[in-house]
Symmetry: C2
Subunit: 351 residues, 2 copies
């Protein structure tokens, strides 16, 4: 049973908003009956949808907004002119204490830019990152950054490692998640200077992270480590390449099966187990990426998801609020900073 | 029917060398009866294998070498101390004119470093790249760089685009292949400064390339463009992520099918079409990456491949020799350089 708190939802974000947002909240309400929702958006469009969800009505309020951020809007523009949008208001509700977290299926860049501006980053975090879970051969792994920062320095990567480790402990319940840096070889000399520097810091005893060194692209979905750390450019390409590969294989399979009556008969027998595989790797199951490193819980849903997918993104926000992720990250970063200061002082004293 | 020429093979490179190299040459001999092979390696181990291939014996010579480059050897070391290795001798045969191209399943870094040192790069090429074909939804696409250059500037990416376009025309027989730059969004403002600069040059009229702008990771296997251009870090991560994703899905499928008698029965019916899918995406079919930008044809086979896979890498070398890839690249680069000089002169005259 989850504790009572409110999540703020950007009702206008996503390809099929506001319908999937309201329907998604209804599905989430069954799972988390104590969680309340603030729906930010066009009341005239939301109210009839809400009226059709009798179970949901009592735990929802609508906050009427007149403007909407579209997928074509540039982040740099909307942070200046978008203060009346559903996205801005939904984020502001967290800042004001009206909500414990926010979920949006809208424009990722705008969400990140507004969230940074409104909430600010956690003390000790220079750049927030986008983090999510992936299904692997042996379970699930977290990966970050998935696209917030196209270029990163070693310090950014180390902060991502710390935040990803906290996320993994909270989401997967692991006592000591293993962490790997994505590289093009597992040898120490491979890759870029930034990666070698980040690896050296992560190996430092004071970080107390189960750092496994470098891993390669094919090891991500093998579950070689619990947390895969990379810059936002590489992470975004890798994530989308995974999606593309999975789509290609299922497309090849479907086309081949359609071409043969025998295969179609065979599929009738195999269907139950194939459905299991589809369910296990369903992108909607893994919908909901966390924007880690902010003073508040911010979850990004895939824009093209359906109600079930959106309800899973709400689930990520619920988990993060309940497990108090940001307090954990703040404590870890403060500890690291204190230990680094101690080390520096000891070095100075020794000189 | 292929013209008569000789390929030099590093008989000692690869996990199952020299057996897969000799057997692979035997398979290639059936396809390309006019091509001769020089096998570089330990004669005592190669001769008995060759004796077992009566069809191959007459078109093969063994060049005995005493040393071998292992996968753990560092490129920087082997280019100094590895001049008696089978890899060095196999590359040198191309430089000396004894062979028209070389194929190795050995250490990639060592192959690249030795090839650059022995053959030098083509005039106008600053950095060679690793290029291969991938199966896509609608056919096949070429992708480069797959790992030779962890960091690239805009000039490198533009050269990769020119070389990849030539490779694609030669391998896929396309009159005007389309070219895309891998990025984390298709909008002009996305990604890094290097990518924006490369895109601007590729849009320049004098290049006469069918440049489609930026593409994202999920578009690679959709076949959105014929040539995917990226730096060696991103390309390597993307390629290995594809391999890992394909492996995970086939693993999920196999495990699920094994768990159910009904599914196993169904698979008996579906097997013929599933075998088609497996054949279409078999990594051995796409074995053989070209090191483009060198004064000679150099093909890298996957180290873990079998004889059939190695024979396909030989096939890539045969195609490249027959289609005279390097002359095409040289001509294209010379044309671009001349046009750039002309433009610069015109600009100066106009000032």
């Amino acid at each position: 049973m989850s504790a009572a708190f409110t999540l703020s939802l950007d009702a206008m974000g996503g390809d099929a908003a506001p319908a999937i947002v309201v329907k998604g909240a209804a599905l989430a309400h069954v799972r988390y009956p104590n969680v309340r929702f603030q729906l930010h958006g066009d009341e005239a469009r939301i109210a009839p949808l809400l009226a059709a969800e009798p179970g949901l009505r009592d735990c929802c309020t609508i906050v009427h907004t007149t403007e909407v951020v579209t997928n074509d809007d540039k982040p740099s523009q909307v942070i200046r002119s978008g203060r009346q949008t559903s996205l801005w208001k939904a984020i502001e509700a967290v800042k004001n204490g009206a909500a414990a977290g926010v979920v949006s299926a809208g424009n990722t860049g705008a969400l990140m830019a507004m969230a940074v501006l409104i909430m600010r980053t956690l003390p000790g975090v220079h750049r927030p990152a986008i983090c999510c879970l992936l299904p692997t051969k042996i379970g699930e792994s977290a990966m970050l950054d998935l696209g917030a920062n196209a270029q990163c320095d070693a310090r950014n990567l180390v902060e991502f490692a710390v935040m990803g480790e906290c996320f993994s402990r909270a989401m997967l319940g692991l006592a000591r998640p293993s962490v790997g840096l994505l590289n093009i070889g597992s040898e120490d000399l491979k890759g870029t200077e930034v990666l070698r520097e980040a690896a050296q810091i992560l190996r430092g005893a004071h970080l107390d992270i189960e750092f496994k060194g470098f891993i390669e692209g094919d090891a991500i979905l093998q579950g070689a480590v619990d947390v895969v750390v990379t810059d936002g450019f590489t992470g975004n390409v890798a994530l989308k390449t995974m999606e593309g590969t999975a789509k290609l294989y299922s497309n090849f399979l479907k086309t081949a099966i359609k071409s043969s009556i025998l295969a179609q008969i065979g599929m009738l027998f195999a269907k139950p187990v194939l459905s299991q595989v589809m369910a296990r790797t369903d992108p909607r199951r893994y919908n909901g990426a966390l924007l880690v490193g902010l003073n508040g819980i911010v979850v990004k849903s895939h824009g093209g998801t359906d109600a079930w997918g959106f309800s899973n993104a709400i689930g990520v926000a619920v988990d993060m609020v309940e497990r108090d992720l940001n307090t954990r990250i703040g404590e870890d970063l403060a500890r690291i900073k204190a230990e680094q200061a101690e080390q520096a002082a000891a070095q100075q004293a020794g000189q």
